[in-house]
Symmetry: C2
Subunit: 84 residues, 2 copies
């Protein structure tokens, strides 16, 4: 859970998740949605991957990222436990 909270503690990363909610996107597509450089986005995607909030697979020269809701379910359980 540590990595999940860390990953969510950044506005850009939360927006990336929101983009991926709509549909899968390549790293390049995601980068174009922000004002920061591609290496920075790549780094954010890495942190999201480590937290398993996103998955990715290579398709030719492109890397396609997808939202992984499994971890979001775990997060929900964590919150519910806190509430009793």
């Amino acid at each position: 859970m540590n990595k999940v909270f860390k990953a969510l503690n950044d506005q850009t990363r939360r927006e990336i998740l929101n983009l991926l909610k709509e549909k899968d996107l390549t790293a390049g597509d995601i980068a174009e949605a922000f004002q920061i450089t591609k290496p920075s986005i790549s780094h954010h995607l890495d942190i999201l991957s480590q937290a398993e909030l996103v998955t990715s697979h290579k398709q030719g020269q492109f890397v396609i990222y997808s939202l992984n809701t499994t971890v979001l379910d775990d997060l929900m359980k964590w919150i519910i436990t806190l509430k009793d």
Copy 2:
């Protein structure tokens, strides 16, 4: 929401919330549950307060902290929105 994610991005603060789930506690009670100093715990409590994850009121020389689940509800909504 920014402050909420920030506040949750720390193991000690998440454990503080878990303690407060059981019952309200004074700052001193909370500090005793951890190996870090009282000023550090005080700082963590400040961050949790800023995120409105806890509320506090003074009772004599003691400051009593309580869990505030309202923000947790907002967090749940955020997650659900992400999942559709």
